[in-house]
Amino acid sequence: MSRFRVSIDRTLCKQCMRCVTQCTFGAIEAWRPPEVPGEPRWHIQSIPRPKDSLCAGCLRCEFDCPFGAITVGLRPPSIRPNGHWSESSVSDIYQQAEHGKKLLSGSGSDSRLPAIWDRLLLDACQVTNPPIDPLREPMETVTFLGGRRDTPPVRLGFPVMFAAMSYGAVSLNVQKALVAAAARHGTLMNCGEGGLAHELREQSSSIVVQCASGRFGVDLDYLNAGAAVEIKVGQGAKPGIGGHLPGEKVTESIARTRMIPEGSDAISPAPHHDVYSIEDIRQLIYAVKEATGYSRPVGVKVAAVHNISSIASGLARAGADFISIDGFRGGTGAAPRTLRDNFGLPLELAIAAVDDRLRHDGLREDVTIIASGGIRSAADVLKAIALGADIAAVSTAALVALGCHLCQMCYTGKCAWGITTQRPDLVERLEPSEATERLSNLLGAWKMEMEEMLGALGINAIESLRSNRDRLRAVEISECALKVLGVAHAGA
């Protein structure tokens, strides 16, 4: 059952076949009409012909057609309208009945649960408390990662960093662009669990290295290569399960970086096999601190789950310098759809609950909280900080800046935009220096927007917004959610 319809306007199409080469999903084929005896030869040339059932909706063909001849749209519902059985749930059953396999998806959850960010409004100064003009007055967005206990802090130019995306899940060109843009703005990128490619080591002061259960690429040099170390326990898109990079994506370079055989599946087990308790993770945190000579912050990344506040309190007591909390909208290269859509917690509620609990336990000043999972804009970042986070980590937004159209087919390795792929011909589609510019533009724009919003709030240092929930008001949020958020309703 196809979700998309590809229309080619024959009056505009010049049969250049660019769309055929651009489509990685085979949804546009070069079709050659059969020869008709007696017809002239010139008539028998290939023309692009859509195969809607294969279309992923990535829009590469539409954007890349030099003649504007292609339009990709949603097909009308192909089942009878039903209030309970949506088209996607019926379609899923058809697929599972056909293949007998679990359904996968890339990117984050696209479920219809409300984005609480959109129901939170920021305050603005008026007569009694003047707004601050960021063009005339200094506006400080410097933020620190860690540094409040036994390791030194890492200074960030502003409280946005790139969340973990491994070499393997994304191409090396993407990682190169991420680290270059992060360095330009004095912030960090997280290299994810796939090790640190040799080409990136020169800019390691802008990199957070990650140690997941697969321990890919982890050795002493790796741990000491980054500005900070993140132990990944969970991921918002798929809480409770590990990672899987299929063997066909494990190229020679990835194999070398991850320290695994070429072509083998790279599997991160669901648990760390040396972590089955909070005491165990304390040992791991301090093992990493010992290995790095207490020279850099060591933190833990967890998915937002129902008892996240207790978990965060435990991690703070276990010695974590920072805690990354990944909400249920978090993206990924591949996740079982049933986990993606039915597990986890909205980031907004998780941040507020964790901040409250850490304050209650007297631990808030000991750790940095990084919020991630579906943050889409500078306003989302500021709202996360007002709810209690120190830093927001973004990845899907960064990929969108690089051209991602959220077709959610990352797990196929066929990314037509050259982002979540290792196919050399597709990787080439993303030029690192141009990608760096786009990411850098995004960060610069967000920084300016944040400064402007801070000015409207009458605040000239970002730390004065942290946990400043008085400056938020909610619109049409349940009383129960308001209580968790610690935010008053608009007008109150």
Binding site: N129, E140, R364, G458, E463, S464, R466, N468, R469
Partner: protein
């Protein structure tokens, strides 16, 4: 004490607004001479346009010549006062208690029951901490009672009225002090109720404040995290707690505490090289204590005052020196009204702390000791 959440409160936030601000003032003798309140009252009278009759008050240091703690309390009625006394009984060894001396004034209305208690905490190795905890507990849990002054040899006098009228009401002419601070209030964030007038005080700390903290939520969570109970409705309360925490609990100097609440900009810290390392450290550790938004404050304790404006100097602050007397005010006119022609004034830059120390001095006309005073009171009730 009625507070701002009480809908019956006569003056509520937002009923009147003019584009002005509060008036703050201080007079300090660096030699420790004891001064009558004439100067501070005159300074605030000159700045009458900066207040609107919803709050005025004074803090005076060295007025009692008593080594223990003096609690000033306001209560809704005699029932609340009895409730307060029964709360204090097991916790505070009262040497004497008495009505706070006042005189009837047509311009000071709706006066609560005002009382003061001389004594020391009954238990605990740390009397300061005991009194601080007790004060915050009373203010957040004892219905109708509010302790608005709890220091040693100092007192706060405040009411919902213009400052000159407050001075008359509390018979300030009967006191002399080494340090006087005063405030005329134009409430913005909270209703104009008696407890919300300035100065705000805890132990020896008192703060008069002109401004509005944009960072209130962050600062409140910071002090709550450090064990303070925020129960009032104005941002000035957290300023007192921030300084109490930084100076009394963490042992910082006033200058260093000022660098926490109004730190140098990062570009300045970076330009200091190694010298900026300590600034960077305290800023990153105590980011939640940074006071953001417009403010100018005079913070006082028994040793002197700290005058400080926000980093962008969004609220005015003037300092004048005349011999051993130091004046601080929101307006130069206030200083000119009381100082001689030779008084030089300066305008501290935003975030630049002005610390004035006072000698303890010799009390040559010390008022009667507390026990005697209890018999001599002649309040308005």
């Amino acid at each position: 004490m009625s507070n701002g959440s009480d809908p019956s409160c006569r003056f509520r936030e937002g009923t009147v607004r003019i584009p002005s601000g509060c008036a703050i003032a201080a007079v300090v003798s660096e030699k420790g001479d004891y001064l009558p309140p004439g100067r501070i009252v005159s300074m605030l009278a000159v700045m009458r346009e900066r207040s609107n009759g919803l709050g005025g008050g004074f803090a005076a240091y060295g007025i009692y010549g008593y080594d223990g703690f003096v609690l000033h309390a306001m209560c809704d009625d005699m029932v609340a006062l009895r409730r307060l006394k029964s709360y204090l009984k097991p916790r505070f060894k009262v040497v004497s208690d008495e009505p706070l001396p006042t005189r009837p004034s047509p311009r000071v209305r709706n006066a609560p029951v005002l009382a003061r208690f001389f004594g020391n905490p009954a238990t605990g190795p740390d009397p300061e901490q005991a009194v601080a905890s007790m004060t915050m507990e009373v203010n957040s849990t004892v219905p109708g009672a509010f302790i608005f002054s709890s220091g040693r040899d100092m007192g706060v006098f405040k009411a919902s009225a213009f400052p000159e009228d407050v001075a008359e009401f509390f018979r300030l002419e009967e006191y002399t002090a080494r340090i006087w601070t005063g405030h005329g209030r134009f409430p913005t964030n909270s209703p104009g109720w008696w407890g919300g007038a300035h100065p705000f005080a805890l132990l020896d700390w008192s703060v008069v404040h002109n401004g509005e903290l944009s960072s209130y939520g962050t600062n409140r969570r910071f002090v709550e995290n450090s064990g303070y109970r925020v129960s009032l409705l104005t941002d000035t309360e957290v300023i007192v707690y921030v300084f109490d925490y930084l100076v009394r609990v963490k042992g910082m100097t006033l200058e260093k505490a000022a660098a926490v609440v109004a730190p140098p900009f990062w570009r300045e810290i970076d330009a200091m090289g190694d010298g900026g390392r300590e600034y960077a450290r305290v800023r990153s550790v105590y980011g939640g204590a940074l006071l953001n938004g417009p403010f100018s404050i005079v913070l006082a304790n028994g040793d002197g005052v700290l005058a400080l404006a926000d980093r962008l100097a969004l609220r005015p602050l003037v300092v004048g020196r005349e011999g051993h007397l130091v004046y601080v005010a929101s307006e130069e006119a206030a200083i000119a009204a009381v100082a001689g022609a030779g008084c030089g004034v300066s305008f501290p830059a935003g975030g630049e702390p002005v610390v004035v120390s006072t000698g303890k001095g010799r009390r040559d006309h010390a008022p009667e000791r507390a026990a005697a005073r209890s018999q001599a009171s002649g309040g308005s009730r």
